[in-house]
């Protein structure tokens, strides 16, 4: 009798363990139970650095706000893949609508279809619920920097509204540290972020010092890239010659291709 009970218990346990591995079992949308690849940004930054090493012209695509638009994101991946010139892709945040772990995984799985490496900024929606934890596990740190050719890409978390003073957002000390970190390896800088200064989630109180003290402190600041507002826009917010290139949400089926040459940079907006 005891053997029967034990056998039944073990069978039930084995069944549950078996089905727990299948895609149909979910404990909770905000369960941070990650399947598949982690530290995507960290790995891809290393790939970008090695692939762009010694190159004086850098060509990359920028998109963002792909949340909830998986079909469009797939089409974006297809469109980027048919252009051989693009060396990497920057996603400027809002991979998810609700910050659930599944949404991050679905977006990661689609973006992993890119032939070139990509990195993702954190968006305000990505911070919801346990989103920050999922983002950090799947993608990596929310402020991160890499060097492509001789251009330093500083990618910032600017979603101050989502943090309630838990962390310094934007992390001004982090920006300042990038002035000199790996000083001999870069001459110019590009800054990417989800929300631009004076948008609803940015800490507007520090907007001017963010721009004039910290961004201008970076050697050879070229331009900034941001998302969040879902519309295509190019704006010199501070009238200082630094343009904020705003990517539209992927539903608009448009993205940027930037080309940085030794003498300057150019961009085009691509529709797909």
């Amino acid at each position: 009798m005891h053997h029967t009970k034990l056998t039944i218990s073990l069978c039930i346990l084995a069944c549950l363990t078996g089905v727990a591995g299948c895609d149909y079992i979910n404990y909770h949308p905000y369960d941070v139970n990650i399947d598949g690849e982690r530290n995507v940004n960290t790995k891809n930054m290393a790939r970008i650095e090695s692939q762009c090493l010694g190159k004086d012209t850098i060509i990359f695509a920028a998109t963002g706000d792909t949340q909830g638009w998986y079909d469009e994101t797939k089409d974006f991946v297809k469109d980027v893949n048919r252009r051989d010139s693009i060396m990497f892709v920057i996603h400027d945040g809002d991979l998810t609508d609700y910050g659930t772990e599944k949404e991050f995984e679905w977006q990661r799985n689609i973006l992993n279809g890119l032939n070139v490496p990509y990195v993702c900024d954190i968006g305000n929606h990505d911070c919801l619920g346990t989103g920050k934890e999922s983002f950090q596990k799947i993608f990596g740190e929310t402020n991160f920097t890499f060097i492509a050719g001789r251009v330093k890409f500083i990618n910032l978390n600017t979603n101050a509204l989502e943090y309630d003073y838990d962390e310094a957002i934007p992390d001004l000390d982090y920006i300042e540290s990038q002035d000199t970190l790996r000083a001999g390896e870069f001459d110019r800088c590009v800054v990417t972020m989800h929300a631009k200064p004076y948008s609803d989630v940015f800490n507007d109180n520090v907007a001017k010092s963010f721009q004039f003290h910290y961004l201008h402190g970076l050697p050879g600041l070229l331009f900034c890239i941001n998302g969040h507002d879902h519309s295509l826009d190019q704006r010199d917010i501070f009238n200082d010659g630094v343009i904020y290139y705003q990517t539209p949400c992927i539903e608009k089926r448009q993205y940027y291709i930037f080309k940085i040459t030794p003498s300057g940079y150019s961009y085009e907006v691509v529709s797909f």
Binding site: L16, V19, A20, C22, D23, Y24, I25, N26, Y27, H28, P29, Y30, D31, V32, N33, I34, G68, W69, Y70, D71, K74, D97, Y98, G99, T100, K102, E103, W106, I110, L128, G129, T130, E133, S134, K137, L161, D164, D200
Partner: protein
């Protein structure tokens, strides 16, 4: 009613009513008087009314009726089962009492569950209120089995975490997010198999054990499914299992 339940109800009423109890150990007849105590036997309960021997049954009846109504009302709220569920966007395991009513076609359950820590900073406790509807039951007499080919309903789940909110915190502009991260709405369909235990073989309160499975989805995933062909059933549908033990 089950013998144990009858005993319980009788004792509660006895304790409420008997202020200077001189109760006899044996169950008295229909209505009788021993010294200054009046015993009234109704259905399956003994009321003990203590006063002078002059009090008649007519004086006792209105109060007994009120008591009767009182415990019948609370008696209706006694859970008639308990349920344990695995997965289903309400936690890894959730468990709680079930109320069964409407000719056993309708069920309401309140469950507490937990979400393991996994890769998060901490796990979470969850609470779910679930409404079920079981329109049909196919009875197999020989084996004492009931097959319920359709169980359907909805449930609301909340998770206890400081990271989630029902009303968005005041730092957000009004109506910034249209959804509440702490409150999920789910719908499901499923099936059940109920094993009835013959009366002479029942142990404790258990009169039947049901096994069920459910296919469910929550609002978050369903909205994305509607917008995208990429969101295939393995992404928006969730499978869960459970067991329900019924008494009463």
């Amino acid at each position: 009613m089950d013998t144990a339940m009858k005993w319980f109800l009788s004792n509660i009423v006895a304790l409420l009513a008997a202020t200077t109890c001189t109760a006899a150990a044996t169950t008295p007849p229909e209505a009788t008087t021993v010294a200054d105590t009046v015993y009234v036997t109704r259905v399956d309960t003994v009321y003990i009314h203590t006063s002078s021997a002059a009090d008649s049954i007519a004086d006792v009846a209105p109060y007994a009726r009120r008591l009767d109504r009182y415990y019948k009302f609370w008696g209706r709220l006694i859970p008639r089962g308990v349920r344990v569920q695995y997965a289903g966007n309400m936690g890894m395991f959730s468990a709680g009492p079930t109320w069964i009513y409407g000719k056993r076609h309708w069920e309401t359950s309140l469950m507490l569950g937990f979400v393991p820590k996994h890769n998060a900073h901490h796990g979470m406790l969850t609470m779910t209120i679930k409404q079920d509807y079981l329109p049909w039951s196919i009875h197999f007499d020989k084996v004492g089995l009931d097959f319920q080919p359709l169980a359907t309903g909805f449930y609301f789940n909340t998770a206890f975490s400081h990271k989630l909110w029902v009303h968005q915190p005041s730092r957000y502009p009004k109506g910034y997010y249209w959804f509440a991260t702490r409150l999920r709405s789910n719908i499901y369909i499923g099936e059940r198999l109920k094993f009835n235990i013959p009366e002479n073989r029942r142990k404790g309160l258990c009169r039947s054990i049901s096994l069920f499975y459910e296919l469910s989805t929550c609002d978050y995933y369903f909205i994305q499914k509607v917008k995208n062909s990429y969101i295939t059933p393995d992404k928006w549908v969730t499978l869960s299992f459970g067991i329900q033990i019924e008494w009463l």
